[in-house]
């Protein structure tokens, strides 16, 4: 089962953004990728605010790849906001980050992250991680239905 729902990539580092896009491409993931460069932008997109006002529901992401260390609002804050809003609380969120700090792992899962993936320095391993992610979240996983807009 395939679909063309977007992947929301929340990433401030343009190099990482590029590498992620390449890794997705290598893994034949064709879903459109929307990039938010900081936490505020990510939430604006998800809640249809400011420049993202008026998105149709189809624009809601299939999966959110969330970096933790972000300008303005960091990843854990963004996760908390997603999980506390009726419209977005069921969205799959994969934390994709450099750190393997225990603290970050615990906080991430306790705030309701669906997966925690460390970005390896070795690009080959990175592609492998993305491949597995794409296989699971875009193909195997059945997303919860998108709620009607109130």
């Amino acid at each position: 089962m395939s679909n063309d729902r977007v992947i929301l990539l929340v990433e401030d580092n343009p190099h990482d953004e590029e590498l992620t896009r390449r890794a997705l491409k290598k893994c034949k993931v064709m879903n459109p990728v929307v990039v938010a460069h900081d936490g505020v932008e990510a939430l604006d997109y998800l809640f249809g605010r400011r420049s993202h006002a008026g998105h149709p529901p189809e624009m809601m992401p299939q999966v959110i790849l969330l970096d933790l260390k972000l300008p303005k609002i960091d990843g854990l804050e963004v996760l908390k906001a997603i999980r506390s809003d009726e419209r977005t609380k069921l969205f799959p969120v994969v934390i994709l980050t450099s750190s393997l700090e225990e603290e970050d792992l615990i906080k991430g899962y306790s705030l309701g992250a669906n997966a925690y993936v460390r970005k390896p320095v070795d690009f080959v391993q990175f592609i492998e991680s993305v491949r597995q992610l794409g296989l699971f979240w875009l193909i195997l996983n059945e997303t919860a239905p998108i709620p009607e807009k109130p």
């Binding site: 590498l19 980050t97 750190s99 393997l100 700090e101 320095v121 070795d122 690009f123």
Partner: protein, 919 residues
């Protein structure tokens, strides 16, 4: 005679007025008052003594009598003269007190002549409460003789009453003739037939009369001499007449003979003799002339006689007065309203002036300047006819000294002043001396800070109490005096006090009561009382003297001091007192404990021994500030023990004052805060460490995220190049890109290991029992899983247990076994062993391999971070693994060390604690 009587009465009157001065003193004595007010036995005794003294001093006093307001006799003291007049005791007395001094009529009783003098006794408020009466003998025989001598034998001086009793001062005599009363001078015939001329005058202030008479013959003697001379003149005329008659006619002889006979008669004193005039001729004229001559002689003779009588009696009275005047011991003077003495008697000699000096100046000039105003006022009253009674002023003597004189003066209608002055200097001086002595004693008693009281022995009523007593009892003096303890204290208290009083009075020995407590208006007071009996000259106790010292405050002070001493002694803090110049005066147990000196060692020593050099200056500076009145808050400083050890102390210093508010010394309360200081230091270090840790954590976080991102870019884009542009790169280029990727990945490992090491330091240690053998097996199976082709002989001693944090220990095992795994990779028959050995009674675990080993010369570098003994090409690694192991073992309180030889393997030992971790 008339003026003689008046002069005498005036003189007597003045003397009578002088008389009752001391009588009045007796009447105003407080004992006399007390008898009348309370009639207590004690007062009676005092008054009896007083009366007896008076009677003894004045022989003319027959007796003294005190009567109540109702006239009832309260006290009678008889003098020696009273024996003759026993019935006096039963005399009827006037029932009401007189208004003022009253001299009674002269009374004769069994040959004794006496009169009564009475004065009222009045209180300070003017209430009359009784009468004091004195019976005085009129005079003795000597007095009568003296008076007789003064006035001469021809004169008679009698004193008498209007009732008709007369006396010449020695016996009762027949009084003056009837009709003498009222008329000024009378001529009468005495019972012995002699003619006498007399005059009577009342004695003012008394019911007495004075009678003076003179025998006529004494008066007429000079007149007769005069008449004899006149008779000679008459005879001469007669002879002339006879010669004329003889010459003129015989006829006239007969009438002339008649005249001659008549003249002869006249010459013998018969002035009534006249001749019969029967003829109208010259003889008749002669006879007429003779008759008229005889008539005239008779008239002039009679006038002459009257004048002579008057003049003579005047002279006689004057002489009498002069004698009194000269003899008086009192100062007698006559002065005029012009302020000059007219006459002064010899008693004035006491002032040292001549008579002329006294008369030539106004008497005011002699008066002490301070007394002049009063003297002038007194003179003004005299000018209005008011008598002066015992007015006292000071007269300057010629030698400059002053004498006190007491004056009684009465003016007459012609503004002449008759004065009697008495020198009272000695009395004044004596009275002043007594007053000063009394005042001195009064001052002493009043100002004694203890209660002083005196009770009379009979009733134990207060007769004296001083100011301290009033204050202590809280009862004013007027309310205390005359009252007894029963009036102020509950019965059982009063009874107990009075029992002690009586005991003292009975034993005649002072009684000391060291402590007795009393409920007063000021609360319960604790007293130390001494009671002393006061005896009179006969040894009878008359009074009880009490002296009480109030011990209450002193005792409270003692209790408070004892309490403070206990508190001070029990205090954990050192309490130290010192004088202003620095020697130690107080040293409590806390001080002994804290500084190690005993009291004997430190007292009197300079307190500076307690301070090290650096604190001494501060100490003297603080003392200076204290003395300037500053309050010094508690401060922290360093002090020194006897053993030289320095203590951190918190010290409070304050000045100690004496009761007058003068600083005596400095008190210090020092608390040992060395351990608090150590705790503070520890806390500060911990805070610093915590801060450093927090910093390290945020640093680590940043490293974990940010340092890896560029490495990912380097690796990722290198890989992209290798994949997407492989055909455009030659073998060297591709190799270079591979090196870039390797470096990036190595650096990523370095970062990961660094983070692991730092995590080991940061994470908390949770110590519990751990199965070390199991941990070793898990580590080996992880290695085997990651490298399944390797064939390594593993020997693990089973059942090794230890105390530690399982997570940290797992990391340590991963590193130790990882190393063993790695360094045996190039050898056949690789062997890795885990076991336990006992070293110096401590369990040491070890991981041993038979790998590459190391040179013991570099063993000290093994455990340093990033220290490697092998090239990367030979054995991969970051040089952080053993540093991590060492950190973990150290955190457990253990030790790690290694033994090895190049190519002969290595053994890593570790313990989990070297000492008892609680020690």
């Amino acid at each position: 005679v008339l003026s003689a009587a008046q002069l005498l009465t005036r003189t007597f009157e003045t003397s009578i007025l002088q008389l009752p001065a001391d009588f009045n003193r007796t009447a105003s004595d407080s004992a006399v008052h007390r008898i009348l007010l309370s009639n207590d036995t004690r007062s009676r005794k005092v008054a009896e003594l007083l009366f007896a003294e008076r009677v003894a001093k004045n022989p003319q006093v027959i007796g003294l009598e005190l009567r109540g307001k109702d006239g009832k006799r309260l006290l009678w003291v008889a003098g020696p003269a009273a024996a003759k007049t026993a019935p006096l005791r039963d005399r009827h007395v006037e029932s009401t007190p007189p208004k003022g001094l009253l001299v009674g009529p002269i009374v004769a009783d069994r040959g004794t002549l006496f009169y009564e003098v009475r004065v009222p006794i009045t209180t300070a408020r003017g209430d009359t409460i009784g009468t004091l009466a004195e019976f005085r003998q009129v005079s003795s025989g000597e007095a009568a003789k003296l008076v007789g001598g003064l006035i001469g034998s021809d004169a008679t001086l009698l004193f008498g009453n209007s009732a008709g009793l007369w006396t010449d001062l020695s016996t009762v005599v027949v009084g003056p003739p009837e009709g003498s009363k009222g008329s000024s001078v009378i001529l009468y015939t005495a019972p012995d037939g002699s003619e006498r001329l007399g005059s009577m005058a009342p004695l003012n202030l008394t019911p007495w009369l004075v009678w003076v008479d003179l025998r006529m013959s004494a008066i007429l003697a000079p007149a007769r001499r005069f008449l004899r001379d006149m008779a000679v003149a008459g005879l001469l005329i007669l002879i002339v007449g006879a010669v004329v008659a003889w010459l003129i006619s015989r006829e006239i002889t007969m009438p002339l003979r008649d005249i001659a006979l008549a003249a002869k008669d006249i010459s013998t004193g018969d002035y009534t003799r006249r001749v019969i005039v029967s003829r109208q001729d010259e003889l008749g004229v002669l006879a007429d002339s003779f008759n008229s001559m005889a008539h005239e002689i008779e008239g002039s003779q009679r006038a002459m006689e009257g004048r002579v009588v008057a003049r003579t009696s005047e002279l006689k009275a004057l002489e009498l007065f002069e004698r009194f005047f000269a003899l008086s011991l009192d100062m007698l003077c006559i002065s005029g309203m012009d302020g000059h003495f007219k006459r002064v008697n010899p008693a004035f000699d006491v002032l040292g002036y001549t008579r002329d000096e006294l008369l030539s100046r106004q008497f005011l000039e002699f008066v002490h300047p301070d007394d002049q105003a009063a003297t002038i006022a007194e003179a003004a009253k005299l000018a209005q006819g008011v008598k002066t009674l015992r007015f006292e002023n000071r007269y300057r003597c010629k030698d400059g000294s002053y004498r006190w004189l007491s004056w009684t003066t009465s003016p007459d209608s012609s503004s002449t002043l008759y004065s009697v002055g008495r020198d009272v200097t000695e009395q004044r001086v004596a009275a002043e001396a007594i007053r000063q002595t009394n005042q001195f004693l009064e001052g002493v008693i009043e100002n004694i800070p203890h209660m002083v009281f005196v009770k009379d022995a009979e009733r134990l009523a207060f007769v004296r109490v001083n100011r301290s007593g009033e204050e202590l009892l809280g009862i004013p003096r007027h309310a205390l005096l005359g009252k007894t303890d029963s009036d102020f204290f509950p019965k059982h208290v009063a009874d107990s006090l009075q029992a002690k009083d009586r005991e003292t009075l009975k034993s005649l020995v002072p009684l000391d009561i060291p402590e007795e407590s009393f409920q007063t208006v000021k609360g319960v007071r604790l007293l130390h009382t001494t009671k002393v009996p006061i005896l009179d000259s006969t040894g009878t106790p008359r009074y009880l003297l009490g002296i009480s010292e109030d011990l209450t405050e002193q005792r409270q002070g003692e209790v408070a001091r004892a309490r403070l001493a206990t508190i001070s002694e029990d205090s954990e803090d050192a309490i130290i007192g010192r004088t202003l110049d620095g020697s130690v005066t107080d040293w409590n147990t806390g001080a002994r404990r804290m500084f190690g000196y005993t009291e004997d060692e430190i007292l009197g020593q300079p307190f500076t021994v307690l301070f090290p050099e650096q604190s001494k200056k501060e100490e003297s500076y603080v003392t200076k500030r204290l003395l300037q009145g500053e309050r010094i808050p508690h401060a922290e400083t360093v002090m020194r023990r006897k053993d030289g050890r320095e203590l951190d102390v918190s010290i409070t210093r304050s000045l100690v004052y004496d009761s007058l508010g003068k600083p005596l010394g400095v008190s210090k309360i020092a608390r040992d805060i060395t351990h608090i200081r150590a705790q503070q230091n520890l806390l500060a270090a911990k805070n610093a460490a915590d801060a450093a840790n927090r910093e390290l954590e945020s640093f680590s976080y940043s490293v974990a995220h940010d340092l890896r991102a560029p490495l990912r870019s380097i690796d990722g884009f290198s890989q992209t190049l290798l994949e997407d542009y492989a055909e455009k790169l030659d073998a060297d280029g591709q190799k270079s890109l591979s090196f870039i990727r390797e470096s990036a990945q190595h650096m990523a490992r370095l970062i990961d290991d660094m983070l692991a090491l730092s995590r080991v330091s940061r994470s908390d240690l949770h110590r519990r029992s751990v199965d070390l053998s199991a941990l070793a097996r898990a580590a080996v199976s992880r290695l085997q899983g990651g490298d399944p082709e390797r064939n390594v002989g593993v020997v693990i001693q089973e059942g090794l247990l230890g105390e530690g944090d399982p997570r940290l220990l797992a990391v340590a095992f991963d590193n130790l076994f990882g190393n063993a795994w790695k360094f045996t990779a190039k050898r056949d028959g690789a062997r890795v062993e885990f076991g336990c050995t006992s070293q110096d009674s401590v369990q040491a675990y070890f991981v041993r391999d038979n790998g590459a080993g190391f040179d013991m010369a570099f063993s000290d570098k093994l455990f340093g971070a990033f220290q490697r003994l092998h090239a990367v090409a030979e054995f991969d690694g970051t040089g952080v693994g053993l540093a991590t192991v060492k950190r973990i073992v150290s955190r457990h309180g253990g030790r790690v060390w290694a033994e090895g030889r190049v190519n002969h393997g290595a053994t890593f030992f570790f313990t989990l604690y070297e000492e008892d971790p609680l020690a």
